[in-house]
């Protein structure tokens, strides 16, 4: 899992609102930096990193909520939560498949057959979750979530 990026200037922020702008700006950049390759199911760390980044951004938006205009904040937070949920659905399957593969290695060939069957079913669910995630990535692009988050940051700086 990627370490959280340092929020430059946070310790010296003159106000909670200034800290809010710095935190949301950094966490927004972090989230979008992990978008590449996230649909590749052969490297499950990518979706994990983006999911963690989405949770960190969500946490920043929730902690600093009073620093942003209510309506804009509510809409953006809802979209970040929705993205985090879609990333979570993919991640849950990744984790279950990895866990079953790990357990499988400790079992006899006879016991492995049933688990292999379940892994196959979970791979199908993983593919479905990946399609939902692909839609989510298109949606945030189409709805310009990145720039709307930056607009939120600008509002906190006013």
């Amino acid at each position: 899992m990627a370490k959280a990026r340092e929020i430059e200037g946070f310790a010296d922020a003159a106000s909670f609102a200034e800290a809010a702008s710095l935190a949301v700006e950094t966490r927004t950049d972090e989230l979008f930096s992990f978008a590449e390759g996230v649909l590749d199911t052969s490297d499950i760390e990518r979706v994990h990193d983006m999911r963690v980044a989405s949770r960190r951004l969500r946490a920043a938006l929730e902690i600093f909520a009073p620093c942003f205009p209510k309506s804009l904040h509510r809409k953006v937070l809802r979209e970040v939560k929705r993205l985090a949920d879609d990333l979570g659905e993919r991640r849950d399957r990744d984790v279950q498949i990895a866990e079953l593969e790990r357990l499988s290695g400790s079992l006899s060939a006879g016991d492995r057959a049933g688990i292999g069957d379940l892994i196959k079913a979970l791979r199908e669910e993983q593919e479905s979750a990946n399609l939902v995630l692909a839609d989510a990535l298109e949606r945030i692009e189409r709805d310009d979530l990145h720039n709307r988050l930056i607009a939120l940051v600008e509002e906190a700086r006013r």
Binding site: A4, E6, I7, F10, A11, A13, S15, F16, A17, A19, A20, A23, R55, R56, A59, A60, E62, I63, P66, C67, D92, V95, Q96, E99, L100, L103, L107, G110, D111, R112, A113, G114, I115, G116, D117, L118, A121, L122, A156
Partner: protein, 181 residues
């Protein structure tokens, strides 16, 4: 679980003053919910405690540049709890997945055997069980069910030990102290 509202936050006040209010509410929330999670079968209470630990962890991590290394240590403790509860949650999520899969196999096997028997069968020939497509898959899934259930028990016992330790060490007061309360 909806987070408890933090009153009195002021965007123009200092980071420290606001963080104190948030941390105070979040650590209180965690302790209150954790006390309700002492029933191993209460999945919701365990889930809510995990979410509360996560919220406290994030607010402490966020404010580590302001409150220093003690905040990082307190966040690490909250994360440890969150991770442990996350492992328990993974077991709670996996068990119904296994059971639903077994149920689906049973339904498919029964349908296959029934179809092989034919519509006019007077009884069911046991030889037809050889035709059940999943007949060799049940035992592995039973083993997996036992493993997941037992692992959950082991992890829950670990959670209890961890929770008792936090109570003994008065985690709530130590977190409040970290932010100068």
């Amino acid at each position: 679980m909806k987070a408890r509202k933090v009153k009195g936050l002021d965007p123009q006040a200092t980071v420290e003053a606001n963080a104190q209010r948030i941390v105070s509410v979040r650590v209180g929330e965690l302790v209150g919910l954790g006390d309700k999670a002492l029933d191993p079968s209460d999945e919701k209470a365990l889930h809510d405690t995990r979410i509360a630990a996560k919220r406290l962890r994030y607010v402490l991590e966020m404010h580590t540049p302001v409150f220093g290394e003690p905040a990082a240590r307190a966040a690490k403790q909250a994360r440890k709890l969150q991770d442990l509860l996350g492992e328990i949650h993974d077991c709670d999520e996996l068990l119904p997945v296994i059971r639903r899969h077994v149920e689906r196999m049973r339904t498919e096997d029964a349908a296959t055997v029934r179809a092989r028997a034919g519509g006019l069968a007077n009884d069911l020939d046991p030889e037809l069980l050889r035709e059940a497509p999943h007949r060799a898959h049940y035992r592995g899934l039973e083993v997996l069910d036992v493993y997941t259930r037992t692992r959950r028990e082991v992890l829950y016992a670990r959670f209890l030990r961890e929770w008792r330790r936090l109570e003994r060490e008065d985690y709530k007061s130590s977190v409040e102290e970290v932010v100068g309360l």
